[in-house]
């Protein structure tokens, strides 16, 4: 069964550093998403991406964040100048049709120290 692959599974970074979280969506999917889940809290939408541009973003997704699809397979989330409160699980998701459910990756656990 096709999977969304995320790397690394766990990233530890010092406060103020930049991190890039990587995702390989399912190959025939057209819509890509990043969500985050702070420990013990609900999954929160960050951003959606379609046709090489952001289609929607939440209030969380401020100038500290950016997304990119650098080639035909990867979809990245960059977090600049990380803060302690950025520590969370970050999930990438994709789907082939905006009106359908997503396939989520297993997530990257980001720990900012």
């Amino acid at each position: 069964e096709p999977e969304v692959t995320q790397t690394p599974s766990h990233q530890v970074t010092q406060m103020g550093q930049e991190v890039i979280l990587r995702c390989v969506p399912i190959s025939n999917h057209l819509y890509f998403y990043w969500y985050r889940q702070i420990l013990g809290q609900k999954v929160e939408f960050l951003v959606s991406f379609y046709n090489n541009e952001i289609s929607e973003k939440s209030e969380i997704f401020d100038d500290q964040f950016s997304v990119e699809r650098p080639d035909g397979s990867n979809f990245t989330l960059k977090i600049r100048s990380t803060k302690l409160e950025d520590s969370a699980m970050y999930f990438c998701a994709s789907n082939s049709d905006q009106g359908n459910g997503y396939t989520f990756g297993s997530g990257t656990r980001l720990t900012v120290v």
């Binding site: 969304v4 995320q6 609900k42 999954v43 939408f45 929607e56 998701a93 459910g101 989520f104 297993s106």
Partner: protein, 110 residues
């Protein structure tokens, strides 16, 4: 903003019994709903979905019921198994992004 919440944060059931997990949503414009299962350390896994033009949908051992009048969604799991132990989220959308509830932790007692 939208509010999606769950009535019970935890649920314990005996193996073999049926489980019912409930969810309330506040956005009357939401037209698509999904139940996800999340096991520890893993991403949300799609279980079943339902669109607002339906009030019931069945899958393998799972049934989702939608009551748009009271903005309530439920997930029924038949013959619950130990492998069903996980956190279950409902998610709703009126467009592109999904709004997730806080989750109900289901524990199946052998």
């Amino acid at each position: 903003g939208e509010s999606v919440g769950l009535h019970l944060p935890t649920l314990s059931v005996q193996e073999g019994d049926n489980s019912i997990i409930n969810c309330a949503y506040s956005n009357s414009a939401s037209d698509y709903f999904i139940w996800y299962k999340q096991e520890s350390g893993k991403g949300p896994q799609f279980i079943i979905d339902i669109r607002s033009n339906m009030d019931k949908r069945q899958g393998q051992r799972v049934t989702v019921l939608l009551n748009k009048t009271v903005k309530h969604l439920s997930l029924q799991i038949a013959a619950t198994q130990p492998g069903d132990s996980a956190v279950y989220f409902c998610a709703e959308t009126a467009g592109n992004q999904f709004y997730f509830g806080t989750g109900t932790s289901l524990t199946v007692i052998p």
